[in-house]
């Protein structure tokens, strides 16, 4: 029943919204269990329907859908609408978003059960699910922007969920401000699209790319810039903010101040990948600008390599995973840069599962450790928490790209695609992603060994209370561990190397690196057979070995290295001084500018002249009229007569019979 399925879309979006509204507005009335039941029900409905849509689109080869649900307004021929575009790309995103969201909802019952803001939390995460679905299912730029901002708002609310902590408030403000920078670019990009294409509708815009691709614009006199390049770079700046690419990455590590389920759902699996999704969705535009693609590639490779390095020196368990997320987002961006959109999206999907798993695993450890996050105070947790241990191991193995696990297929596709690419910057990118493999393995297993093996470094009180977390926590771990293992093997042949996304993603023949990769590898089995001869495998193995040697065998070595290379350590520990730089240059600079504008512009000019001037004239005028409104009847009648005479004088006298 292909037509009937289209009526599902609106309910997929609305079900979580209803849950959010009920839990948010009537949270007190329905109680704690009422709040989690209603939101979980909403997301579960959404998830099941998304899976149905996924089955229809992918297995049954359904036709893509593009239609408008509601026209908000038509102004000057531009339609502002709410509509859905559902094709394989969307169907995959919907399935991933709702599935991970459902797991996180269930997990939250265990993680937040003592928190006074329980209902509020459920309301927010359901609202997030709604916003994210609006974003991925959109068929136009306006709704995309709505979803983009809505997920930003929810992310802001959730980073500062514990609003009486200063660090949380600081972190959410920072996330908000940094995203503003990205969103400014994004909004300008949408504005440019509107200006040159005259429409906000994806289909209309993509159909017109041929007309616009040759055009140039002159922003700085004497410099002709390709319109397509400007649009793509502006849109990508938006993606840099949301997907935390250098130099707009600074908010993501701090976002770990939010509760862990949020880190898993928003700051690892879904929202931060919105930028990747958006660029893939806009592939018909990006394909037409090699400059923009190079820009994307270079930014991505810097992020992939340098953010991974920072993961090596973190001691907070969540921050290690956060930097790993940054680095993996870099990988996805690199894939976009070399036009291997499908590989990027594929990595997005596998990453969503194993990174959500790692975060939730870290959260499980944190629950058991009574909200202690410092890895130096953990160790040997393996025997106390067997399920968390085994699922975290699976997550780590998937992350570093162990052959057979999900991450292996997606990451290797990206690396091979970069190797095939010839666009400017691909040489550097290849080096970055290869070295990144070693680093990923090193920090992942550093974390793994520090937490689950070795000496038990926690205090006696904590140790005596250590036990496995309840089933609402472990079941989502298991449910996420399954796709982390198998999903790569199942889908790599179609998604990354086949033409799964044909129609949804556009790749010009001369950029089609994935086709070349596919020609060499022959599917999932081919990739596995190729393992012994591939560099990434040996690099990953070397990373794991190094981690084992440093943190299990000779724990004195890391300290020694730290002393010997104290300068490097200091740079890494201070995150390349990016925060310090922002604080001094941008924050300080804006404050200086603000003070100038406040004292000169606002106080003197606006307040002094415009505002007070207006207020004074209004006061004068109203004083006069209030005088006339005296309450005396004859004054009122007199005013009417005056009015009448005035009108007669103005309109009758000039007429001549």
């Amino acid at each position: 029943m292909p037509e009937k399925i289209h009526s599902l879309y609106i309910w997929i979006v609305l079900a979580p919204l209803f849950g959010a509204i009920i839990a948010g507005l009537f949270g007190k009335k329905i109680g704690r269990s009422g709040a989690h039941w209603v939101t979980i029900l909403g997301v579960a409905v959404s998830c099941i329907m998304s899976l149905i849509v996924f089955k229809y689109m992918v297995l049954d080869g359904g036709k893509p859908f593009n239609g408008t649900v509601y026209t908000w307004l038509v102004s000057d021929g531009i339609r502002f609408e709410v509509g859905f575009m559902v094709d394989k790309l969307t169907a995959m995103m919907m399935a991933v978003v709702t599935f991970v969201s459902l797991m996180v909802h269930i997990y939250t019952i265990g993680y937040m059960h003592e928190d006074p803001g329980y209902q509020r939390f459920f309301s927010y995460i359901s609202l997030f699910t709604f916003s994210m679905l609006m974003l991925v299912m959109s068929n136009n730029f306006m709704q995309l922007f709505f979803g983009w901002e809505a997920v930003g708002v929810v992310s802001y609310l959730l980073i500062g969920f514990w609003y009486n902590r200063d660090t949380a408030i600081y972190a959410n403000l920072k996330a908000f401000l940094v995203n503003r920078v990205g969103d400014f670019g994004f909004l300008l990009g949408i504005g440019a699209v509107l200006m040159y294409f005259g429409s906000l509708d994806y289909a209309t815009v993509f159909a017109k790319t041929g007309e616009v691709s040759g055009k140039t614009m002159e922003i700085i006199p004497g410099n002709q810039w390709s319109v397509m390049t400007v649009i793509c770079i502006l849109l990508f700046i938006g993606a840099m903010g949301k997907s935390a690419q250098v130099p707009l990455h600074v908010w993501l590590p701090d976002s770990m101040e939010g509760p862990t389920p949020i880190s898993a759902l928003i700051h690892a699996a879904t929202m931060v990948t919105a930028g990747i999704f958006m660029v893939a969705r806009m592939s018909p535009l990006f394909e037409l600008s090699e400059t923009a693609l190079s820009f994307v590639l270079v930014i991505g490779s810097i992020t992939a390599l340098f953010m991974g390095l920072l993961g090596l020196v973190q001691n907070d368990i969540k921050r290690v995973v956060a930097y790993s997320t940054l680095s993996q987002l870099g990988y996805m961006t690199v894939a976009l840069g070399v036009s291997a959109y499908a590989a990027g999206i594929f990595h997005l999907m596998t990453h969503a599962f194993f990174k959500a798993l790692l975060f939730l695993g870290a959260g499980s450890v944190i629950i058991a450790m009574h909200h202690e996050q410092d890895m130096r105070k953990m160790g040997g947790l393996r025997k106390y928490m067997p399920i968390t241990w085994i699922t975290s191991l699976i997550g780590s193995l998937a992350l570093i790209g162990t052959p057979g696990f999900a991450g292996f297929f997606s990451k290797d596709s990206i690396i091979m695609a970069v190797g095939e690419s010839v666009i400017p910057g691909s040489g550097f990118a290849y080096f970055a992603v290869l070295l990144g493999v070693f680093i990923t393995a090193l920090y992942s297993f550093r974390m793994y060994f520090l937490v689950f093996h070795g000496k038990e470094r926690m205090d006696e009180h904590t140790r005596s209370h250590l036990h496995e977390t309840p089933w609402v926590v472990t079941v989502p771990l298991i449910m996420l561990a399954v796709p982390s293992v198998i999903i790569g093997f199942i889908f790599v042949g179609d998604m990354a190397l086949g033409n799964f996304f044909a129609g949804a993603i556009t790749v010009l023949p001369e950029h089609d690196v994935l086709a070349k990769v596919a020609a060499k590898t022959h599917g999932a089995v081919g990739m596995l057979l190729h393992v012994p001869a591939s560099a990434p495998f040996w690099l990953a193995a070397a990373g794991v070995g190094t981690a084992w040697f440093f943190y299990m065998k000779r724990p004195d070595i890391p300290a020694m290295i730290q002393q010997k290379l104290s300068f490097v350590h200091k740079v890494l520990d201070n995150k390349y001084y990016a925060d310090r730089f922002n604080e001094i240059v941008f924050a300080g600079g804006s404050r200086l500018l603000g003070r100038f504008l406040w004292q000169r512009g606002d106080v003197k000019l606006i307040d002094g002249l415009v505002i007070n001037g207006t207020a004074k004239s209004v006061a004068l005028f109203s004083g006069f009229v209030r005088h006339v409104q005296s309450g005396y009847l004859y004054h009122y009648a007199f005013a009417m007569i005056i009015g009448l005479l005035l009108l007669l004088g103005l309109f009758v006298l000039p007429l001549k019979n």
Binding site: W72, S622, A637, I642, L655
Partner: protein
């Protein structure tokens, strides 16, 4: 002279209402005070009957009856439906208010229904006499309603002012009618229209313009446009709030119809002249209304000035002289009636025996006392200020669009926007008081279920029609062009 049986069927709603109102008057005599709710229920039922009658006989075809003194057309029907709905809400809102002040009597409902009859006749008038009759029936009912609270000094004073000023305005209207009758020899709007066109073509229109100025003064008084607005703040403030909500809602719809009948049906060929007059009235109404409202500390007075400014906006559409402009104004009139109902309804909701809740300070911290009703009030205030996506935004947008597209009047549109920005201040101040200030009394808001349902429906309608404005707009346009 041949006597034709008039086509009574066209006036079925009016005749039914007359019978029902008389019936209720009689029934009320036999109802004991503690059972007064019977009168209330019967009145609501009558309005429901009228609604069904008008809706089922709704037709796009224009029909005349009673020697062409009465017209039944789509515009009239839509406006009448608006009037029924508005008065239905008014009756629900005022029940508890009247009861708490011991003026829960049959008079309110009977007078109210006769007022509705007046409005219906006014809306359907196709002759100066019918028009005048409808107007007076409405006005006399209103005067009496304002004076109903006999032991209140404020109410008696404002009733007296309203009555005398209303009499002056009626006199001017009649004078204008007599002048036009003098030149045309007819009271029929269609014939006047033909004669006026001929006179305008021969540029022999001085008497027409002279009479027209008087007519416009009469309408402007009813609408409350500056400088014929002086009664508005005093009457809105002095009357019991249950009567204020009556005066502030449906009669504006009827006054819009009166403006349309006189200027469009009767004197469209003088559009050049009346456009300039309406521009002057509109600008001065928007200016005075918005600026003086800022200085008010009494919510009823503030809403009175807000009403004056909204009337200025309403006239913007009519003065373009285009059908789409009339439709925009009609949309504005209906939208304004709905918002105004909600605004005064909130005052009634928060008031109790001996406490009128009409001071701005009474709204401090409403959010803590009742988050839901604070939200409802927020919707209404945002809508009146013209913030998207609420209904008031579309009303403003549609009239402004018409002004802009009629060419040469862009300055007027800009001026209007400036005034509406000034106006936003006092609406937003209420929101600030509700959400950011500490409450002065912490009594929870209590009201009967019907009241709470009605006010919530009212506000949610403002939101809902704002999200889906297309249907109502299309209805207005269809009604005007039919």
């Amino acid at each position: 002279m041949k006597y034709e049986l008039p086509n009574i069927a066209l006036a079925t709603p009016e005749i039914t209402l007359l019978c029902l109102a008389c019936l209720i008057l009689v029934v009320d005599l036999f109802v004991k005070q503690e059972n007064r709710v019977v009168t209330y229920t019967l009145s609501l039922l009558s309005l429901a009957v009228l609604f069904v009658l008008t809706l089922t006989s709704f037709t796009q075809k224009t029909g005349f009856a009673f020697n062409n003194t009465f017209v039944r057309d789509a515009m009239g029907d839509v406006l009448k439906l608006g009037v029924y709905l508005a008065i239905f809400m008014v009756f629900i809102y005022s029940k508890d208010y009247l009861r708490q002040r011991d003026i829960f009597k049959g008079e309110f409902y009977v007078l109210g229904l006769f007022g509705v009859l007046g409005m219906m006749v006014l809306i359907s008038a196709h002759n100066f006499l019918t028009l005048y009759m409808g107007l007076e029936l409405l006005s006399l009912s209103l005067y009496a309603m304002v004076a109903m609270q006999r032991d209140s000094v404020n109410a008696s004073e404002s009733a007296m002012k309203y009555f005398i000023l209303g009499a002056i305005a009626s006199g001017m209207l009649l004078y204008g009618m007599s002048m036009i009758y003098g030149v045309t020899g007819s009271l029929d709007l269609a014939q006047i229209s033909t004669k006026a066109a001929a006179a305008a073509a021969a540029s022999n229109k001085m008497i027409f313009v002279f009479g027209m100025v008087f007519l416009i003064v009469g309408v402007a008084f009813k609408l409350g446009a500056v400088p014929f607005h002086m009664w508005v703040p005093d009457v809105y403030h002095g009357a019991p709030t249950s009567v204020t909500v009556y005066i502030a809602s449906a009669p504006k719809i009827a006054a819009f119809a009166m403006l349309m009948r006189l200027l469009v049906d009767g004197l469209i060929s003088l559009q050049g002249q009346w456009q300039s007059i309406l521009i002057i009235l509109a600008i001065s109404s928007m200016a005075v209304g918005n600026i003086i409202a800022i200085a008010q500390m009494n919510l009823k007075r503030m809403l009175a000035y807000s009403a004056i400014s909204h009337i200025g906006f309403l006239m913007l559409g009519v003065l373009t002289g285009k059908e789409s402009g009339f439709a925009a104004s009609m949309f504005y009139a209906l939208a304004y009636a709905l918002m105004s109902l909600g605004g005064f309804g909130m005052i009634i909701l928060l008031s109790r025996r001996g406490f009128e809740a009409d001071n701005l300070n009474d709204y401090k911290g409403l959010n803590e006392r009742s988050p839901w009703f604070a939200l409802m009030m927020l919707i209404l205030m945002f809508s009146m200020a013209g913030v998207p996506p609420f209904l008031g935004f579309w009303a403003k947008l549609s009239v402004l669009k018409e002004v802009v597209s009629s060419g040469g009047l862009i300055w007027l549109a800009i001026l209007s926007v400036v005034f509406s920005i000034i106006g936003a201040f006092y609406y937003l101040r209420i929101i600030k008081l509700m959400y950011f200030d500490q409450p002065e009394n912490t009594q929870p808001v209590e009201a009967d279920l019907d009241m709470r349902l009605a006010i919530s429906t009212n506000s949610l309608a403002v939101l809902g029609l704002g999200l889906f404005p297309g249907a109502l707009m299309a209805l207005c346009l269809a009604a005007i062009t039919a």
